[in-house]
Amino acid sequence: MTNAPSPASPELDDVLARHDHDPTRLLQILIDAQEIAGWLPAPTLTRIAAGLALPRARVEGVAGFYSFLYTRPVGRYRVLFSDNITDRMLGNAGLLDALCRKLWLEPGKTSEDGLVSVTTTSCTGLCDQGPAMLVNGRAIGQLTHRRINEIAELIRQQRPLDLWPAEYFRIDDNIRRTDALLGLDMAPGAALGAAIARGRDGWLDEMRASKLRGRGGAGFATAVKWESARNAAGSAKVVVCNADEGEPGTFKDRVLLNRYADLVFEGMSLAAWAIGASEGFLYLRGEYRYLRPQLEAVLARRRAAGLLGTAILGETGFDFDIRIHLGAGAYVCGEESALIESLEGKRGTPRIRPPFPVTKGYLGRPTAVNNVETHAKTCLIALHGGAAFAATGTAQSTGTKLLSISGDCAAPGIYEYPFGVPITRILEDCGASDTQAVQVGGAAGVCLASYEFQRHIAYEDVPTAGAFMIFDGTRDLFEVARAFVHFFAHESCGFCTPCRVGTSLLKGFMDKLADGHGAKADLNDIDWLDRLLKNASHCGLGSAAPNPVIDTLQKFRPAYERRLVSLDFKPAFDLDAALAEARQLTRRDDPGAHLKTHEESPE
């Protein structure tokens, strides 16, 4: 290549050296390299590519994939407003406007002096204390106009984040109901000691007896997954904890990692013991980066206590350690094969399956990927046995489930219930009234109308990864669905045609309805797109993307129909409005400069 040599950068060389010039660490290198200038200038990418002996285009490909990596300048203060529907319901748009006005800034643009940029980001997992924002990766919740005024002033004064009032960065756990897991007081190593005493086979027997199913939403039997990974050919097996909690409205993993990190890491070690893995990763979503220092401290403490490293708890041959891998703003990386691609330092594109990760995962090695909550739950099984675990919940959904409750209720937060709990009971406990609908399982989940509130949280009835967003009678369910459609269009990885184009087309149709140009023909096209996305998408993101629309169209159809201006066809644009710029340029506003589109329409 004829690229000119980039200017030397000792800081960048230091980042590369810290990561051993390892190409599988590319994403981590890009995240660290961005700290130097706040963004990733073109010569930086060239230098990283040279340092890793990778094609530059591949480095650019990865840098362009993740929302929190910037290949164009952004502000030294980078403000991202969380834009989940719950943030919207709490008025995030008005706050964003106010902040931009105070800083003389356009949303999405960087100020001319390079001081600040303000825009939105997908749900940051602070729905119980929203509206929320991230400033240079640090989370601030409970935003009010008063707080926004103060923040504007701090930014104008260029006050370093460390000198901002500490209470801004206080994140509450908001644990409202505890059960087996959240009430557990376990000395680190107790579960691991019990499992080792049972032997690998005995431990897997307990896991089987527990009938534990994955808490990430899909509900696959954990013991079956572990057994497959254990029996798979290949010696260097891998345990991955999926802490890429990106599903809008979900924040239970944030609380588990903040307060119960030992349970999570112990659960990962229990998985390693079962399948014979030597290497573990915690894939931490970029939005939770602020948790990293304390998580590293827990890992260090566990290493010192002989719970990680070689010959764990004196068991010869049980060697296992855990590294934290940061994400950088890509919901699709919650899909396990995309997560593994990302772990390998690539774009987070879901793989063709089979082969499944349990046989061919991280770097082609057998890999067991489990959710944060799943890992934590295995501690209960190790301590009290599989039968005791299976005695709670329902026959097909054993144990308890953590719910992240947000939206229109008196006490949003974390609620732990045995599986089988009816929706009505949950609504009562969290102080919800006049409830119109509940979105269970996040944007990809299911929207329940009031006549379904007798249903139960369980894999066999209403499965969920944990999100539980409540909408009272004042909310517009069309706007709820539209927010989720925008989310999926933003988060589509773009690999397959139906999801890449389909989510954007769906967004276009929802916006057309919102803008008052909707017609009945649009509802037919929406229906058709819903089906195609569901059928033909490459991964779960695409096939779940139409869920919010399918549910609300079926259960809250009037919310759509009252937006239709015509029962037939209506174009998405207004010819007369399209001439506005020409009128402005020619300084004309006489009748001759207008098209009488409305008189021509047949109504």
Binding site: P55, G64, F65, T497, R500, G508, L532, H538
Partner: protein
């Protein structure tokens, strides 16, 4: 007794390890594709080869044939989905067939005819994708990219150059070249690379040979893409 599956009710023999698409084409049944290429592992991104097997929609290019299974492909339902996918590919890029040098040799255009796509159906996205004419021998017109990654794979796996890669995400995804300047002229790309000959649409065009074969006499002008594909199948 060799293994076979039923494709639209007709028996199709296959060998272990063959995909539905490979076995079907070898037996003289056309299943369309854009991102699939016989010399590369399946990619599975264009989804035009979508078929229904055991009631589920799967990519025929990436799904192994299974003995005794029933597969639906040439049905109004599947062809309707394919037409929709083609319409999606047309509206997301800027495809002006009448002024495109690839017209008649373009697989996207040929599939549009094959599946009787009469309208774009959806709103055009009109993306802003500047062309790159920097290279002495080859022009890149990104407006027509369908993200099949054939050039990416050919350059990486055969030419050993990795001239191309995709960056961006979702609808913002786009092709880039391996140079800090972003210009093809600043890469080691050559017109003799496999990557220079593999584009199924009109992104990678050779200079000074335009219209050497007149429109009307080109590959898909003389025979449909299904006929041409089956003729070339082993």
């Amino acid at each position: 007794m060799s293994k076979q599956f039923l494709l639209d009710g007709q028996p199709v023999p296959f060998e272990e390890g063959q995909t539905i698409l490979e076995a079907a084409r070898a037996a003289g049944h056309y299943i369309p594709s854009l991102c699939w290429h016989k010399d590369f592992p399946p990619h599975g991104s264009c989804k035009l080869c979508v078929v229904k097997a055991a009631g589920r929609h799967v990519s025929a290019c990436a799904t192994p044939a299974r003995d005794g299974s029933e597969v639906e492909s040439n049905t109004p339902e599947m062809n309707g989905e394919r037409r929709g996918l083609l319409q999606m590919l047309f509206v997301e890029g800027n495809h002006f067939c009448p002024s495109c040098e690839k017209s008649g040799n373009c697989e996207l255009q040929a599939l549009g005819y094959e599946y009787e796509m009469l309208t774009p159906r959806f709103r055009h996205f009109f993306p802003d994708r500047p062309v790159d004419a920097s290279h002495p021998d080859v022009l890149l017109d990104f407006n027509r990219c369908i993200f099949c990654e054939l050039c990416v794979r050919a350059s990486r796996d055969v030419d050993g150059k990795s001239v191309f890669a995709l960056t961006g995400r979702g609808i913002q995804k786009h092709l880039v070249v391996n140079a800090e300047s972003g210009r093809l002229a600043d890469t080691d790309f050559s017109k003799d690379d496999l990557a220079a000959r593999i584009c199924p649409v009109g992104v990678i065009l050779h200079k000074r040979v335009g219209f050497a074969v007149p429109i009307g006499e080109r590959k898909f002008d003389v025979a449909t893409i299904s006929a041409q594909t089956l003729k070339e199948s082993p």
